[in-house]
Symmetry: C2
């Protein structure tokens, strides 16, 4: 037979079983957390009509997209989950109830140049809340609570949700007479972490054409820091000069004032005037989330408020607020830095049952009994040496092995071996199930390690 | 703004939220059941190198495949989960432990002519057990137990797992001197349910060129029926004439003899000599599963034993056994026939919290408290009339609404409204959580209705 060398395409992540188990655990936490806040799961096609996906058109997106024809159809693979959501909401507008809260964890495709940690196929994990015409500010205020709960469920404490407001920023630039250049300015300010305030000031003058005074005012503004209370108090000093600014400040206060009721500690939340988010799309609150001990990873969960989700498809104003996690990249970086807790079990089974009797019947029945007790049980029927069977359990990381020979069978017991300690005890099947459950309970812990 | 009419491509299923909730419930059961038997979850790219996907080449597959280029790459979307599994096992052979047991629930793509109930993008839900060189018959014997547990977990009782063995069939055809024509014969016998024995006999003679006597012997053979014990006893009568037949019969006995230990009732299992499965790929036990009250749906879970998973990619014999469920089609048909239990909750939240106080703080804290008690809670902050808020809960099917006004707040209680009965009670938050949990527990039931 002619053979073809197997390979997986560059830029496509394919995990070994033990890594996949870690990824699944993260996905479970995402699903559970999003569901706890009343978001419904959604699943949309990977392929859409190219014209629909590219309605907004232009730029990088068009170059990166996977586009092809099949029959007469001009097709494309989705490059994010937002455009398909916009299409979905426009198409099913009459069948949905608003606010419409959905989460989606799905693969998206971008034909970027493949490089380390960059993927052409990757998961995004998004939530969005879409209003019909209006959407109360309470929804924007709730987003940090969801982010907080999510990262706490991952096992983390040292992370910070950084929040700003685009109306406030645009209002501030308007005060300086710089409305026309606000996009440019935001993109420059966005580099603050990387290049520092001096360089930002220079670029603002040299590339964006600001006066020294304007640049200084901006640098002074984004340097406002302290507790949330202090920052908001400092911002009050600018009130009364621009209606947009005042509106943005009121929104920022509304998003901040109920943190305690939302269960979000002050230390995990910061009003941060340097956050702008690149996309023009956002019109109100914007969010970023950073791991305090790993700032080089950048924001791990970002999003914001927008006013017009689906204007390309429907003549209805559909404002919303959403956040997105680049799950594949996050997973890859966490793994690379050794931050995925290796102590959590990744084996596909809690216990491996080894038949040692003439007929496999009693071992089959025992496996069935253990499974009925809620355990994940693998029956191992291969004809191998005993040592090889144990080595199999060991390689998979299965924490317990149960042996059933004629002696045990006659005595109504089985032998339970704890693979970590090597200890072996003779117990009834009920006792075995109880001991395994107790042992598994001890193996809990954070999914992601702090450092 | 120029608008594009939103649409979803023909042949691509996109569910409304309530249907999606039903689909998710089926997927959860699939994942839990497969995991209970020690299968690890796997996730492989949707896109593969076209040469690799088409290694086997030819025929219908090549016509239906979504194939395209991106840069210099000749790419294709996977059309099943088996070929990517073969590639995965060949590629990662040295990193896997055998038997390798994996499950995968993923979308696959076939550009078939779109018609009712046929999909171009659909989910398959597969399990496979792959051995390295050898694979014990116990694995084949375990498959019916997994199918049984799965369909019981869906809530069904009236289904039958039908099992046959290809070695036995091939051996029988060899006895008749018809080895060369066994493929043709099997495909003809496969039509028995649709066209009846007489027509099968005619086709066997006219199209396959069998003598009348040969056709009669085949019809007599496939007419063997009765209890499993009776069928196996009748098959014993053919023993000793062909080594393959004898081997197949021994395997069939091994698959059947431990049913009770596996927890599979006799009534849900039948040795059925008419089952052959179209694919040449299968070499031993083959499986089909039918819903007894809905035979027109055809087999809802099929598979079998194969000897050579990955011969196109690796010089190692990798025998295996697997089953596949065409999940999207199954879901579609069940829904169409009204068999998805409408009594199960599909709302994205268990309770909707309505703030009725001046500040939303107390309602936010109450929502947080109910969520900490394990409930899925949606906070509703829109400025609407009271009636519209209740109507929103009603449309989503949210079973409980909690109202928190100044009076309740001062009394340390909240108002809990049961949307089904319309009853409203004043209770503490703890009591509310307990009552909601109790109410939800009453809403359990089968996912799929029997009829």
């Amino acid at each position: 037979m002619e053979r073809i060398k197997p390979r997986t395409l560059s830029g496509f992540l394919e995990l070994l079983p033990q890594k996949q188990a870690q990824m699944e655990r993260m996905m479970d936490i995402l699903r559970q957390t999003y569901a706890a806040y009343g978001f419904c799961p959604l699943d949309t096609p990977l392929i859409e009509d190219a014209q629909i996906l590219l309605a907004k058109g232009g730029g990088e997106t068009e170059k990166q997209i996977y586009r092809f024809t099949k029959g007469d159809n001009d097709l494309a693979l989705r490059f994010d989950l937002t455009v398909p959501l916009a299409k979905y909401v426009a198409l099913h507008y009459n069948d949905l109830s608003f606010p419409f809260r959905r989460f989606q964890i799905g693969k998206v495709y971008r034909g970027e140049r493949a490089q380390r940690g960059r993927f052409r196929e990757f998961y995004q994990a998004d939530i969005d809340i879409i209003g019909d015409g209006k959407l109360d500010i309470l929804n924007e205020a709730e987003i940090p609570a969801i982010i907080y709960q999510l990262f706490r469920s991952f096992g983390l404490e040292r992370f910070q949700i950084r929040v700003n407001n685009r109306k406030l920023l645009n209002g501030f630039y308007a005060m300086l007479g710089l409305t026309e250049r606000s996009g440019e300015i935001m993109r420059t300010v966005d580099k603050l972490d990387k290049i520092g305030p001096e360089k930002v000031g220079l670029i603002l003058q040299e590339d964006c054409g600001l006066t020294q005074q304007q640049a200084e005012q901006i640098l002074r503004f984004i340097a406002i820091s302290g507790t949330n209370e202090q920052v908001l108090a400092a911002l009050e000093g600018y009130r009364g000069q621009d209606a947009g600014f005042d509106q943005g400040l009121s929104e920022l206060i509304a998003v901040t004032e109920n943190l305690a009721a939302f269960g979000v500690p002050e230390k995990n939340f910061a009003v941060d005037l340097t956050i702008a988010r690149g996309l023009d799309y956002y019109t109100g609150t914007v969010y970023e989330t950073t791991l305090l001990d790993h700032p080089q990873i950048g924001s791990v969960c970002s999003g914001g408020r927008y006013d017009n989700l689906a204007g390309y498809y429907i003549d209805k104003p559909l404002p919303g607020v959403g956040i997105s996690i680049g799950l594949t990249r996050l997973f890859y970086v966490l793994d690379e830095q050794g931050l995925l807790n290796p102590a959590l079990p990744t084996a596909p089974a809690d216990v491996l049952v080894l038949p040692m009797t003439q007929s496999p019947g009693p071992a089959i029945a025992l496996a069935h009994q253990l499974r009925s007790a809620g355990l994940r049980v693998q029956l191992y029927g291969e004809q191998k040496k005993f040592k090889q069977k144990l080595s199999y359990a060991d390689k998979l990381g299965v924490p317990y092995v149960v042996l059933l020979g004629e002696d045990e069978l006659n005595a109504g017991v089985c032998s339970l071996k704890d693979m970590a300690s090597g200890q072996q005890v003779s117990v009834t099947p009920q006792e075995a199930a109880a001991q395994i459950r107790a042992g598994l309970a001890l193996r809990s812990g954070p999914v992601i390690l702090e450092s």
